[in-house]
């Protein structure tokens, strides 16, 4: 039972990271109808930048800020320079271009930093507090919850309470009408990509200290898990992404806790297959998922 409790809290912490990453995928999907397969690679790139700054200056928080701002910039650049010019008549085109970006980013990172794992330290202790003799949460877990919670609240406020958020939703929902009404649709799209990439970078910064460390391929599995989470919640639903992230985090932690870490990727695959075949529109979808 102790172990179950411990795994539950560990799973929620892991799930919070998946939720943030899934949220990044959902943001771009809602804005541009593209699943950004380069999200993982982009997050790794900014994490490398962040840790370079950290090791140069000795300040974790400066590196953290650089990673988040780097995410904003990288997202905007990817949208402005590449994605804007992709032919969107077929959803495959966007996917293939994103895969090209994955290759470029991983290749460049490998050229600069090499293809070995680099240690990445956490800003807080990862030793769990003892509550009633049971190890439950570490300071780092609390930091993860706080960071992801802040992102969720800020995004909710942005989209429901500000005129910029309203413009972004309008631009995604009806681009032509919005343009006639004076909404800078292109700019809103760029802003959406920048925000999503920054959220992805945050998820990357949060997850990398808990895994093997920095590596150009470090986010491949995280991407699959977050994609599963986003599909589980419905690609159109931010609430679904958060719930899906927590569910996937819990399932994966239970599986690796009771059956071994090697089994976890297979569990993701099985979960994804079950979701896609059982409820491809996600748990929280209101309408049928778009097929194109």
């Amino acid at each position: 039972m102790d172990r179950f409790l411990y795994l539950t809290f560990d799973g929620l912490s892991r799930g919070a990271v998946y939720a943030a990453f899934a949220l990044a995928l959902v943001l771009i999907w809602r804005a541009a109808r593209i699943v950004n397969f380069a999200q993982g690679a982009m997050a790794v790139a900014t994490a490398y930048a962040g840790y370079s700054v950290t090791s140069a200056t000795g300040s974790y928080w400066l590196g953290f800020a650089v990673a988040i701002v780097g995410g904003l910039v990288l997202g905007a650049v990817v949208e402005r320079v590449v994605m804007r010019f992709v032919d969107h008549s077929s959803p495959l085109n966007g996917v293939v271009v994103a895969l090209g970006l994955v290759l470029i980013i991983q290749g460049v990172l490998g050229m600069i930093y090499g293809n070995e794992f680099r240690p990445a330290e956490a800003p807080f202790s990862r030793d769990a507090f003892q509550i009633g003799g049971v190890a439950l949460l570490s300071r780092y877990d609390l930091f993860v919850f706080a960071a992801v919670g802040a992102v969720v609240v800020l995004l909710t406020l942005l989209f429901t309470r500000t005129s910029t958020g309203l413009r972004m939703r309008a631009a995604a929902f009806a681009p032509d009408v919005s343009r006639l009404l004076g909404v800078p649709v292109g700019g809103m799209l760029t802003l959406g990509w920048a925000l999503a990439a920054a959220v992805g970078s945050l998820a990357g910064m949060l997850v990398i200290p808990t895994e093997l460390g920095l590596h150009p391929n470090a986010m491949d599995l995280l991407f699959i898990s977050a994609f599963t989470a986003a599909v589980l919640g419905g690609l159109d639903s931010p609430v679904g992404a958060v719930v899906g992230g927590l569910v996937v985090g819990l399932v994966l932690t239970y599986v690796s806790g009771y059956f071994g870490a090697n089994v976890a990727p297979m569990a993701v695959l099985i979960l994804l297959v079950v979701v896609l075949l059982g409820r491809p529109d996600g748990l929280f979808s209101k309408a049928r998922a778009r097929t194109a």
Partner: protein
């Protein structure tokens, strides 16, 4: 779901007349003669590279059918290749009979492909890409979970009989690979010329219209996946023969991405594009490696090819979604109109 051949209606008559003139049997015979001649002229290492092109051609030809003609994107064909390679390795270490081993590898991969294909037929666009990506990522996890059979990250070695007579190993490998590749190309060429090819294109271009015309949409999609999986299994078995070992490191996610990239750059929807793609898959890393060796940088090795592939892929997708082969076709058309 049309990623390719936006000019299909314009060029249909042309393609047909070209196709009539070039009988696949003739192309394959000429190709075989060319390859056999080359293997006697080339030094051993070039023969090995030639063999690798043949092995890649099997899987790129299959993917061309799946992605180019049927509009399904698979990022999991590296994993299917691993299935074929491991099947052959396990068989060879027990029975040491190459030909039945390759056939078995194809059959096992076909079965695995059928399972994935059944799921894939219900999925579209990014959903399908995500599922197959998960399949590609899961390979190392499977080999280390069942390490009694697959021996985890170290992988298995593949027992191979020495080639008959006094032929060098590399030449023998080139013959095996190209025999398989040309056979695959021949079978696929006849498959896509007939009713099956028409069904594939009909489903890709308009599912509803295809359904109304009596084409079984799901059945066609599963069949396309199964055919391309069989090709991937064959290619995987050939890779096991080439490297004489199999390990999860030989089938990383990057391999699956490279395969997609090769057929996109080669030009989707044509078997000639698959050949260009297979050639690039061998030539580009080789060029990149010699550059890296000249520069004397360890970090460049492999990563230069990765970057280069990525840049070319993005540029090709932005410039011409049909790939280089379609560019070439268009240019020729313009000349004939002028």
């Amino acid at each position: 779901m049309t990623i390719v051949e936006p000019r299909a209606t314009k060029t249909k008559s042309r393609q047909k007349s070209v196709g009539r003139k070039l009988s696949p049997v003739l192309v394959v015979i000429v190709g075989a003669a060319l390859v056999v001649t080359l293997t006697y002229v080339l030094p051993p290492f070039r023969n090995y590279q030639l063999a690798t092109i043949g092995a890649y051609l099997c899987v790129t030809a299959g993917l061309t059918v799946l992605t180019g003609l049927n509009g399904q994107l698979s990022l999991g064909h590296g994993a299917l290749m691993a299935t074929g390679a491991y099947t052959l390795a396990l068989w060879q270490n027990k029975f040491d009979q190459l030909l039945p081993g390759i056939v078995l590898a194809v059959l096992v991969t076909t079965a695995v492909g059928a399972i994935i294909g059944l799921a894939a037929a219900r999925l579209r666009g990014p959903y399908l890409a995500g599922l197959t990506l998960a399949v590609a990522v899961v390979v190392p996890s499977i080999t280390s979970t069942f390490d009694g059979t697959f021996n985890s990250d170290q992988g298995l070695s593949v027992a191979l009989d020495p080639p008959p007579g006094v032929i060098p190993v590399e030449q023998w490998q080139a013959w095996i690979c190209w025999a398989a590749a040309l056979l695959t190309a021949l079978v696929l060429a006849y498959l896509i010329r007939g009713r099956f090819g028409r069904d594939l294109r009909a489903v890709r271009d308009d599912e509803t219209a295809a359904k109304l015309a009596g084409v079984g949409v799901a059945r066609t999609q599963v069949l396309a996946f199964v055919v391309s999986a069989a090709c991937a299994g064959l290619a995987g078995a050939l890779f096991a023969v080439l490297a004489q070992s199999v390990s999860p490191g030989a089938f990383p996610l990057t391999l699956s991405l490279f395969l997609v990239m090769a057929i996109v750059i080669g030009g989707l929807g044509r078997l000639s594009g698959a050949l260009i793609g297979a050639f690039l898959l061998v030539a580009l890393p080789s060029v990149a490696q010699s550059i890296a060796e000249d520069a004397g940088s360890q970090h460049l090795e492999g990563n230069l090819a990765l970057t280069f592939f990525g840049v070319v892929l993005v540029l090709v997708m932005l410039a011409a979604p049909g790939g280089l082969a379609s560019l070439r076709l268009r240019r020729r058309n313009r000349k004939s109109h002028a």
